[in-house]
């Protein structure tokens, strides 16, 4: 397996506050990599740093061997990023949002519409593309956001709490799509609060106060902490600290 993400001693400070504190880890190509931790643990900041959206204080980040800080502009088209906030336009239709996102990644209208159709069919998404986004349910919005972020077929997909606040049925569909992307060779970097979702990940990093306190496969984490399930495993890890 080749390392597609390599993070060395990454530190991000906002004024006096250290959001990410000297973390080092790597992610392999095609892996589903989970990031867990409480709100404010530094998950979002790590993702944003990798996407070139915050200035880092020290450390190095490499995507496919290329330094992120130096090649931000070249690397961005190879990345898909879904923020935990809804970042599409509420006053546009689904189709208009997709056309806009796709065009920024140099896709033609035909390519965009074809890809949109495929993605929506895969997750069995039934809303009309000509519907204005504003009136839709949270679950639908999440699916549209995901579709927009993977429209351009990126090699690495960063998903920041993609399933927060959506129904169990939608979550199942969501994870089907994520698994499919992974089996297509895409690397998935996902943060979540749900333990059952964490089980889908090949490896999980547990973050607390800007640091990674545990990183391994779900099975190994359970074994290492003598826990029967992941939730208990995390409680044990957090207690130890």
């Amino acid at each position: 397996m080749t390392k597609i993400l390599d993070i060395q001693n990454l530190t991000v400070k906002f004024g006096g506050f250290t959001a990410v504190d000297n973390i080092t880890f790597s992610v392999e190509k095609g892996e589903i990599f989970g990031f867990l931790g409480a709100n404010g643990a530094g998950k979002t900041t790590t993702i944003r740093a990798l996407c070139g959206l915050v200035n880092i204080s020290s450390g190095n980040m490499f995507i496919d061997g290329k330094d992120v800080s130096k090649n931000t502009k070249k690397l961005k088209p190879r990345i898909g990023y879904m923020s935990q906030k809804f970042t599409l336009y509420q006053d546009l239709t689904i189709k208009e949002n997709m056309l806009f996102s796709g065009a920024l990644y140099m896709m033609t209208e035909k390519e965009i519409l074809k890809r949109m159709k495929e993605l929506f069919e895969y997750v069995n998404f039934k809303e009309s593309p000509d519907e204005i986004v504003k009136s839709m349910s949270g679950g639908s919005k999440q699916i549209i956001s995901l579709a927009a972020s993977i429209l351009h077929n990126p090699e690495i997909v960063f998903l920041d709490e993609p399933t927060a606040g959506i129904s169990p049925v939608s979550r199942k569909l969501f994870w089907n799509l994520i698994s499919k992307l992974s089996s297509d060779g895409k690397t998935i970097f996902v943060t979540t609060h749900y333990m059952d979702e964490a089980e889908y990940c090949r490896r999980i990093a547990l973050m607390q106060n800007g640091r990674i306190i545990a990183l391994d496969s779900p099975q190994n984490l359970k074994t290492a902490s003598n826990a029967s399930n992941l939730e208990q495993a995390f409680i044990n890890f957090l207690d130890k600290k």
């Binding site: 990345i79 923020s83 906030k85 546009l92 208009e96 065009a103 990644y105």
Partner: protein, 367 residues
């Protein structure tokens, strides 16, 4: 280059869709300019007519009546006789600003000049309205000399060129077009970047690797079209409602407007980039859009009479330069060669502000 154009086009198209779905923006873009030009066009009036004059004639004579008669010729003055000789009473109640006291021996002394007594008229003016007072002061002596010394050896004939009737509308309306278009352009664009920050969509934009300049140019385009349509609306309103003549090159005027609008949109976007919040951006853009163009652009107050510091300050205002182009093309049939300096100044400002906005554009999400 091809990529840049495609990104700019994508932003422009998206922005166009926002505009078409937003009634507030549409109303502001088209309704407000029309409302402003008609509203301000009617209320800003620098011409006086029918200035009331109270005349106290102590001993009416043919000669004094002839004088009062002369006053009422034309529309400028409206004399009326009163019997009280206490002008203060009229001034205090704001009944009139001009009070003329005609001496009881006026008729006699003017017909039969005597060495020890000359004909006398007292003119009392309310100095609290000094523009009116000044006007009266400059007119009345000529009326007097006209009435009593009709045979002169020479004659001065004055003629105003470009604005023959010295109609203040012809002076105000072209300036008003500049003020309105500037205000609308700054207001419209000042919300756009702040809106992206507030709604979180800036995160999406930045994650795609689009550059600030691409975002700014993409946003300027649709608003440019909108402001140009507003310009045409205001232009024809000026022609139809106020019958202001347009004597210069329409193409030059139109191109200048394009540059001016781009400059103002750039300024609005700069405000938006700095403010990052819609409310704050609105609060900043109102005074920035309105005050300098009212006070420092030469719209009403002549730039030549300002202290040196303010004269230099006006040079950085796009409104000041379009004001020159506008008055030149409307009234003086001036063309590109006559107005090359304002045109270049406008172009420089436009390029400068767009580059500045791009440089100040924050491309990270740091809180």
């Amino acid at each position: 280059m091809k990529e840049t154009l495609k990104k700019i086009k994508a932003i422009a198209l998206k922005e166009y869709r926002h505009i078409m779905r937003d009634k507030f923006t549409l109303a502001m873009g088209f309704g407000l300019p029309l409302f402003l030009i008609i509203f301000f066009g009617f209320i800003i009036e620098l011409n006086y007519d029918k200035i009331s004059i109270f005349v106290k004639d102590a001993n009416p004579s043919a000669q004094s009546r002839a004088f009062v008669q002369k006053l009422s010729a034309g529309d400028l003055f409206k004399p009326q006789y009163v019997f009280s000789d206490d002008p203060v009473k009229y001034f205090e109640r704001n009944k009139t600003a001009v009070f003329i006291n005609i001496d009881r021996d006026f008729g006699k002394t003017i017909s039969y000049p005597q060495n020890d007594k000359r004909p006398q008229i007292q003119i009392l003016l309310d100095g609290s309205d000094n523009s009116k007072a000044g006007l009266v002061l400059s007119y009345i002596p000529s009326i007097i000399s006209n009435t009593y010394a009709p045979e002169q050896t020479y004659e001065i004939k004055m003629r105003f060129i470009y604005n023959g009737e010295l109609n203040s509308k012809y002076f105000i309306i072209p300036g008003l077009i500049v003020v309105i278009i500037g205000l609308i352009s700054i207001l419209l664009s000042s919300l756009t970047i702040a809106k992206e920050w507030e709604r979180g969509s800036m995160e999406l934009l930045l994650s795609t690797g689009i550059s600030p300049a691409e975002i700014i140019l993409g946003k300027i385009l649709p608003y440019m079209v909108m402001s140009l349509i507003a310009t045409v609306v205001v232009f024809f309103a000026a022609q139809i409602v106020f019958a202001v003549p347009f004597t210069g090159s329409f193409i030059f005027f139109f191109i200048s407007c394009c540059v001016f609008i781009a400059a103002c949109l750039g300024l609005g976007i700069f405000i938006s980039v700095i403010a990052k919040q819609q409310q704050l951006a609105m609060l900043i853009s109102m005074p920035v859009g309105l005050l300098p163009s009212m006070l420092l652009s030469g719209f009403v107050f002549p730039i030549e009479n300002m202290p040196l510091f303010f004269r230099i300050l006006t040079a950085v205002l796009p409104q000041r330069w379009l004001m020159e182009i506008c008055r030149g093309t409307f009234l003086r049939s001036a063309g590109f060669t006559d107005l090359i300096v304002p045109f270049l100044a406008l172009s420089c400002f436009c390029i400068f502000i767009i580059i500045l906005a791009s440089k100040k554009f924050k491309t990270d999400l740091e809180p």
